[in-house]
Amino acid sequence: MIEASDAALVRACRRGNEEAWEALVHRYQRFVHSIPRRAGLDDDAAADVFQEVFAALVQGLDKIDDPDRVGAWILTTAKRATWRPRKCPMSIHCRTAFWWAWKSSTRSARRWMGSTSDAGNC
């Protein structure tokens, strides 16, 4: 199963073969993981993209016109998921503090904002 072609794996997945799905995930896991990581996303965001890509794949298995090009389909989906604006992971308290910092526009507030670990995520 590991050495089956992409098209054979996709067709087996369509028939409900769980082993084929596992082979497909393992074949493309490094490829999918590398796309958000190279785009600068952190581990958690990359894991979200990873999950999103394979969730879209499992739901769209029947809609892929050319199973031989599932790799290209995965690439496109992973790129879109990577560049989609992500939900701000900051807590409500953190966001409130940011709002205060911008409103006050003081140098100390901006300095505090820059030292907050969440700052780079939004």
Binding site: E3, R37, R38, F50, F54
Partner: protein, 251 residues
């Protein structure tokens, strides 16, 4: 030239992409191949006659070993000599070498194991769950109107004498109209689902017997006459089952 006893590290699917087609013909640059040529020269025919089967194209697995620099020195020299004269094998070796270089330069890392496992579980939770039959909701129809209990029913449409009409509330704001009329010494149960409906199965069953039918395009049904008794009427739709628990067939 002897084959390497070690299997290549590349998976079969990769090797297949580099394996020459069975019916392919050498480009012509190769002087060592035994191939079917429509117009062989006399010199070439003589050469082909003296060649052994070992002088065919280099096997892909051996080319992989060559590209990975894992061939013993004598074999390596033989392969190099063949590549110098065979354009097709040289092209194949070049492609394999390029592939090895790309793989060596790849600095991407594996996804964490728990992330991979979560993606693997997606198939069971989403794909297999969606194809499994979903349980039907079972709801009881609520009687809203019964002509047998109406003193005056000016709003009811004119029906034949002895016909009893009932109206039930069923799922999703739909209504079920049921008519019970005497027929052939028994009672015929007919009716219609009023509202959105895309077909279904109707069963009436009781101590005196049972009957079943399908809803037609207008979501109407008509069951064969049944003897007078107390029955249960069940309508089975795709995702919901509606039950009228007590349906008394009497005059």
């Amino acid at each position: 030239m002897g084959r390497s006893p070690r299997r290549s590290a590349l998976p079969r699917v990769v090797l297949d992409r580099f394996e020459p087609a069975v019916s392919s013909v050498c480009s012509g640059d190769c002087t060592e191949c035994i191939v079917d040529r429509p117009r062989s020269t006399g010199v070439r025919r003589e050469k082909e006659a003296t060649m052994s089967p070992a002088s065919r194209h280099t096997p892909t697995e051996q080319l992989v070993d060559f590209a990975e620099s894992r061939l013993p020195t004598p074999d390596r020299a033989q392969v190099q000599a063949h590549l110098a004269t065979c354009a097709r094998c040289a092209q194949q070796a070049s492609a394999l070498t390029h592939l090895m270089d790309v793989m060596r330069a790849d600095d991407s890392e594996d996804a964490p194991v728990h992330v991979i496992n979560r993606a693997v579980r997606l198939f069971r939770t989403q794909r297999l769950a969606s194809t499994a039959p979903r349980p039907r909701r079972h709801i009881l129809a609520v009687l809203r109107l019964d002509s047998a209990r109406q003193m005056f029913a000016p709003a009811l449409r004119a029906v034949g004498s002895g016909t009893r009409e009932m109206l039930f509330d069923i799922h999703d704001d739909n209504e079920l109209e049921v008519r019970i009329e005497p027929s052939q010494g028994g009672w015929r149960v007919a009716g219609q689902v009023l509202g959105s409906c895309s077909g279904g199965h109707v069963v009436v069953e009781g101590s005196a017997g049972q009957a079943a039918t399908e809803l037609n395009a207008l979501c109407e049904f008509s069951l064969p006459p049944q003897p007078g008794a107390i029955y249960k009427l069940v309508l089975q739709f795709e995702d919901v089952e509606v039950e009228v628990p007590i349906l008394e067939l009497r005059g």
